[in-house]
């Protein structure tokens, strides 16, 4: 693998390979010295055009556990904010010897541009681009589901027949898109539940069921219920009336949580708005995977960095 830009472009074999390597990386966390020498002498640049402390430190922790050097490059206050082009930034990082670039960018497609440009030879990992994709989030979600379902017998398996209901702002969510493509590739079935104002106009090409009624979706007994974060700025932009109304209709409150079928798990990419899209009882229950998702995020990012930056990196 040369780059990790989207889950839409991942084959089933590639996705399962990545998840399997993440299993190996998760084992490292249990060692006395939680460090592998694998990427010693490699430099990973966190190139963040948007603030995201959680994602940045997850990649930073992953890279350091593989003994890479990490350089944090926040675009704020840099020449980038003075109008330097992505091209010049990329060529600068290339010239400085960056082996991997983790990029978060407000423009959908920016990581693809970077990877396809020839400006830089480094492995590019998309850490979130506009409303497009956030592939490592989807991979850590799939990893988490697979582990919950199959435990130590997860290696080599997909998510065939698993039903996943994703609830919230589908219109703007790169997490929803990345999950959609990856879950479909792995054999799961996705149902999106959202306010009508927060569903894209044309979803005909999406391998998913679209609905508006969370209660009906819960009564269908999905294996996984994934709640998305609601951005306050959406509310202000009148996509829905107010937070109480949102919570009443599309929140996983205590009543809905109690009606979930006994085997269902509850997921959230974080950070959570407790009391808005998810109740504290749901977030903190044994069926919630919120903390596992964070831990698995480090393992999945270690796997991605390993695949892209180790000697085994493919040429195309």
């Amino acid at each position: 693998m040369r780059h990790l830009l989207s889950t839409k472009s991942l084959s089933r074999v590639e996705a399962i390979t990545l998840l399997d390597i993440a299993e190996d990386m998760a084992d490292v966390a249990n060692r006395e010295v939680k460090k592998l020498p694998t990427l010693r002498g490699k430099t990973v640049v966190n190139l963040f055009f948007e603030d995201s402390t959680r994602t940045r430190i997850s990649f930073e922790a992953a890279a350091k556990r593989l003994s890479a050097d990490v350089i944090n490059f926040s675009a704020k206050g840099s020449s980038v904010s003075k109008g330097e082009s992505l091209k010049d930034t990329a060529q600068t990082l290339a010239a400085m010897g960056a082996d991997g670039v983790v990029i978060r960018h407000p423009a959908s497609g920016a990581p693809q541009v970077l990877a396809g440009s020839g400006w830089i030879d480094a492995g590019i990992i998309n850490a979130g681009d506009g409303t497009h994709e956030h592939p490592t989030q989807a991979l850590l979600d799939a990893f988490t589901i697979r582990r919950r379902l199959h435990g130590t017998a997860s290696r080599g398996r997909g998510l065939d027949g698993v039903t996943v209901t994703i609830v919230g702002d589908i219109l703007h969510s790169r997490v929803a898109r990345s999950n959609l493509w990856l879950l479909d590739t792995l054999g799961a079935h996705v149902t999106f539940i959202a306010p009508p104002t927060l569903v894209p106009a044309d979803t005909s090409a999406w391998p998913a069921t679209i609905g508006y009624d969370l209660d009906a979706a819960i009564d269908a007994g999905p294996d996984v219920v994934m709640m998305l974060r609601i951005q306050a700025e959406r509310m202000n932009a009148a996509f829905f009336p107010n937070s109480r109304e949102y919570s009443r209709r599309w929140g996983l409150d205590d009543e809905r949580f109690s009606r979930l079928s006994s085997h269902s798990i509850v997921m959230h990419p974080g950070p959570m708005n407790r009391g808005l899209e998810i109740s504290s009882a749901a977030a903190d229950s044994d069926r919630s995977t919120v903390r596992e998702q964070v831990a698995n995020g480090v393992s999945v990012r270690m796997a991605a960095l390993y695949l892209l930056l180790s000697g085994d990196r493919e040429d195309s």
Copy 2:
């Protein structure tokens, strides 16, 4: 030791153990390669909800000398500033595998909440919480006093009978509080000198003498005079009339400095307002320990990280 939250809760044995280990750490600074492999594979997160470059880089230098990986997490611009709870932040850091968390927080008691919560198993070090405590500052102060008094024969000793006069904004100072408890535990006697507006309403439980007259305090010949930093925002809030008036009555100016008894040392936690609470002559004299305090800060923080994060960490 599992956490370092306050000096009030430190026993004399614990405090002296910490100071003795800091002596060993100070020796490392004289080696050709100033690094120990002790915490290799451990991750220390600097979780700063308030800016404090000096304290942050002191902990960062300490952790790196012990070969730990350091991740800086400034709450500004992070999901924390978007309303994420301390609980969710803590669980995120736990899931990412943080072994130690150095926390600076504007709310008194936040580190205690973190340590007692069960949200995270990491060792917690309080790097300043509201107006409550700043224990590593007090420990480095005690270390500095002990070294000045006993030199290389410091190990194993307390500060019995030492007289320490602390001058300035006692009302708001966590440094003053941490020093009070630790110095008392180590056998020293503390006198606080402050403007009446900058003394707490009820100090009856404090093992200290409270006074308002700096000249009288200096004529009493204390072993240590510790000047606290005056925050400009206090002046604006009318706690004292103006900087000239403050300096005239509670500043260690050249005249007062000249009247100090010949063995007294002058301390300041930094950064100093030269000409306000301390004159340049006093700050730069041989009797000033300002620079030693900074150097000792790294040693004391190495000792704390070692005690909390090495294999010897206690279970309770």
Copy 3:
């Protein structure tokens, strides 16, 4: 070498030694593991009183390739911005055990003050001070020119007889000044081309030809044409009428680029204002060294850190 403060004070022997060591460092970039253990246990502080992500990460990459620990100290939001003196900041860094300090400061001469003060024993590298100097930029420029002219046979050589035309805001540019002194020391001849408003009032002591006509300068067939970055704030301050006018008279546009003699190279310190001081065709051509300059920047900074911080550091 104890400090690297300016190119004006560098002897020819010192400059060539530094460039030769940079050649060795450039070779490291081609190794499997791009790291040398040379500065293990040393601490380099990036003390930046002005934002400059490019320069900061170049030094950070250089220090990490030599296995030094790096601590980034941005003056923004620190006690420095609350009025702490350079003296107290320096003494703090000294006490924390900084072995090297890379300083960027808006005041011309600040690095010299730091180095000559006795406040700190660390090796000081000037990473840009006011309108005074930016020596590592000039060294990487000289390194780049030497490599283009002599390739692998560069070691030991100066730039005797090379003609260099530097175009742009000479008045405010520390890059221009550092290049002037270094290029002169190495035997090159410098011509400055600038709008009359952007030339210092008295250049009589400068070993350079001053002119205003870029077309004539190009027709003279210089070996090197170095375009400086135009700061938008200069334009607003009425040093020149507008960007179109600047570009028309002092920009390296496609037409002028086509008239360059066949052996000339085109340099720019970056970040570029494409279409203002340089056209994209010129910037991206084979004759442009922009990317090499960035890569060579890391090698030159490794060389400087090595000379200042390794055991071989001179005593004076």
